[in-house]
């Protein structure tokens, strides 16, 4: 991913924060399809399938949805297909319940393995509010902060 930092529409950020609170204490996840021509950016809220993967294969997927996220088939395919269309995904988001908005080692492993050309938004979701969000971008083998967004009390 290179170039300017993608803007996040205020209504999309508000929806992402609501999504994070609605799924707390589990992680939420989703993505934003980029704007093209007259078509505005589109927010896609996804279901976190981590618990289903954990249930079927706890050795490979030891974390539950309180500590991890994973897209299901439909959303994975939709995101993958977006890169062959006119509005490719620009941002993948997920929440971190209670622990702050940082790009974890597991986030890094997954993102490096995948190689999607997107930025990653991590939402700091606390028990009674969203404290903010941070946008990360790949630089070499690491992900660095490129933008910070205030929380509901920010």
């Amino acid at each position: 991913m290179s170039g300017s930092v993608p803007a996040i529409r205020p209504e999309h950020l508000a929806s992402i924060y609501r999504h994070a609170q609605a799924t707390f204490p589990k992680e939420c996840c989703g993505f934003i399809l980029g704007a093209s021509g007259d078509a505005p950016a589109q927010l896609v809220e996804c279901e976190n399938w981590q618990d289903k993967y954990h249930a079927v294969d706890p050795e490979t997927f030891p974390r539950t949805a309180e500590r991890a996220y994973m897209f299901g088939a439909k959303d994975t395919r939709r995101l993958a297909d977006s890169f062959d269309g006119e509005t490719p995904a620009t941002i993948i988001y997920h929440s971190h319940p209670r622990v702050g908005a940082y790009f974890s080692e597991e986030d890094t492993r997954a993102a490096l393995s995948a190689g999607w050309a997107v930025d990653y938004l991590v939402v700091d979701c606390q028990e009674d509010h969203v404290a903010g969000a941070v946008l990360f971008r790949r630089e070499g083998q690491a992900f660095v902060e490129v933008a910070r967004f205030p929380g509901e009390r920010g």
């Binding site: 992680e27 996840c29 993505f31 981590q50 289903k52 993967y53 079927v56 294969d57 490979t60 997927f61 974390r63 500590r67 991890a68 996220y69 994973m70 897209f71 299901g72 088939a73 439909k74 959303d75 994975t76 395919r77 995101l79 993958a80 890169f83 062959d84 993948i92 997920h94 971190h96 622990v99 974890s104 597991e106 986030d107 492993r109 997954a110 993102a111 393995s113 995948a114 190689g115 999607w116 050309a117 990653y120």
Partner: protein
């Protein structure tokens, strides 16, 4: 033959092709044949023991093979198989 859909991060192994037609009675055989035809892609999909890597999803139609019979999942002529890097993360 099944149609194997290749996402953008893996197309460097398929000369940029979005889809390739590959034979195989089940997913494991299909992956063997895919790697034989497009060298290097197999290492991205399976670990040295032959298991599907944790951050790779393989779908037959709309179902992840982890919820079916894994690499033994049967593949029929005309099936669509998608090999897609997982969209995942965790603490």
């Amino acid at each position: 033959m099944a149609t194997v859909r290749i996402p953008t991060p893996l197309r460097k192994y398929t000369e940029g092709k979005e889809e390739v037609d590959i034979a195989g009675a089940n997913v494991g055989q299909l992956l063997d044949n895919l790697d034989a035809k497009h060298g290097g892609i197999g290492e991205r999909i399976r670990d040295p023991k032959g298991a599907v890597r944790r951050f790779v999803n393989i779908f037959v139609g709309d179902e992840d093979i982890r919820f079916l019979d894994g690499l033994e999942t049967p593949v029929k002529d005309g099936d669509e198989v998608s090999i897609i890097p997982a969209i995942a993360g965790g603490l």
